[in-house]
Amino acid sequence: MEENDSNRKVLLMGKNGAGKTSMRSIIFANFLPKDTMRLGFTIAINESRIRFLGTLCLALWDCGGQDHFMQHYFESQRDTLFRSVQVLIYVFDIKSDDQRDMKYYKSCVEAIKEHSPTARIFVLIHKMDLIPLEKRSETYSKKEREVYQNSENLSVVCFATSIWDETLYLAWSKIVNYMIPNSEMLSQSLKKFCVACEADEVVLFEKSTFLVISSYSAKEHRDTHRFEKISNIIKLFKLSCSKAAARFKSMTVANSNFCAFIDEFTSSTYIMLVSSDSSVQPALTQMNIGIAKKHFEGIVKASTVSQ
């Protein structure tokens, strides 16, 4: 295909009001969840170029979901829109009963099958916070089944999301990680680093979005959602610092059971290192992080290049 190899085309589609622009604003444009209330509807297609991990470039096509736009997408704009797509993200508003939603989804899947058969499809079942807690699992499973039935046998990954908690970060971390050509190299290097520092776990975050790029855990932990929770916590704190006209550089948090370091790492990443071993000197850990920076600068760059 003629498209530049390092320009990954991501389609963000779904009926109007599903929450596409809100999500994109929180993850990539530093909006607070409550700020998204003042967003209007998206007119036609909003294309934004997002630089990720330094050299990776995402072309995010936020497609306004109003009915008359949707008609155009499947008719007059069909090839331009659905050609050379690497990822399709379709967003469903879990509270919406509109039958046309699933029809639009099916049309998207068909268009993708035709024009970008190698594309990956992610479905975000959004606004889960509006469903009472005890009904969430059931409501989500029902919708997920319906999505699979309408996916023309293509392999699709579903997520339950909400802008009010960490589930948004999990979904977008997975989506973005899919687009990193050589993330295996990163996790292997992180493993070596973790073992060398005698740490419990090491996590690599992208600098501006704080999405999880890679991680290695030497020790099991009971909370499987902890990484996206940390993304959410730090992102909110970053926004709070900007109110004080500052940005945070590094952070350590400790109590008698653990010590966590979060520090600027390479030019496009932050690293978090957690240790529960009190015999490991914090100053030594910080020194190790400093030494590893240069080494990882090269590794991160290499991971963004296709093999």
């Binding site: 909370d223 902890r226 929770k229 940390i230 916590i233 730090i234 909110l236 704190f237 709070s240 610092c241 109110k243 004080a244 006209a245 500052a246 940005r247 945070f248 550089k249 590094s250 952070m251 350590t252 948090v253 400790a254 109590n255 008698s256 059971n257 653990f258 966590a260 957690v274 529960s276």
Partner: protein
Amino acid sequence: MQIALLGTKKVGKSSILKVVFQKMSPNETLFIDSTSRIEEIKVENNPYTKYTFVDFPGSFEVSQINTQDRKILSKCAMIIYVLDAQDQPYNKPLEKFINIITEVHSFNPDCMFEMFIHKIDGDMFVTEDLKLEAQNGVSFLLKSDIQERKLPEPGYFLTSIYDLSIFEALSKILIKVSPQVNYIQNMLDNLMNYCRIDKVYLFDVINKLYIATDSTPVDLISYELCADMIDVVIDVSCIYGITGNDNMTSAFDRKSTSVIKLDSGLTLYLREIEHMLALVCLVKEDNFDRQNLIDYNIDIFKDGVKQIFQAHEKLLKSEENKT
């Protein structure tokens, strides 16, 4: 230490208590019911500070005060009168406030009075000037009656549950009713000078009110930054710092500490002082190079605070025994 909240109906008394002490989100307060009887909220998050807030129903009329109400009000160290700044004109509620001060002052002469000019948010109060205008207006309306009847002058606070102003106001009034805090303030001033710290707060970790601060003025931005730092520390400690089925109160333990460095050259330093009490310092990065020195001084401060509060407890007990 008892503090009463009075004010006309729907003015926001219960919402204030719920947002600050019961972690309710400000948006949810739109749905709470009116208070029909007197409700008490006890605040005892750490061994040093114990308060009881008494939430009076909006229907309470001081002209129809009964013996039970009288008993409660006679034990109060302070009365906070909440005024809805968006409900103009203010004449009727202010008249009620004057009557309350008159009546309570007659049987409880030591009681302090504070006014919260509340709901000072939204389109009506977009600029600082508009807010100050409201405060000046209120104090002007009250002036003549207070002087005529020789009543104690109330303090004024501009508050809203949608930002930290209500937290700052409550922190300040709690300091007003706690005379022992003056000694702590002096110690904090000393700590500041010896360690070259720019600003320091002693925080209640659970409700994010500050028990004490140094004598430099409080600016909402630094207060908010410190409160957010506490959130980060608690949230991260709840993930990595607890074993098994422990809860939040064990996430913040004796060795809880945190350092956050900002690119503006400012460093935030948090240290646990007592159960659910944290000292948060704002230091310039250059001045933080002698962390050991700061830690040593903080340990001395820790002991000092303990002694002050223990002495205060003894004093209270001996006064109770006398009566």
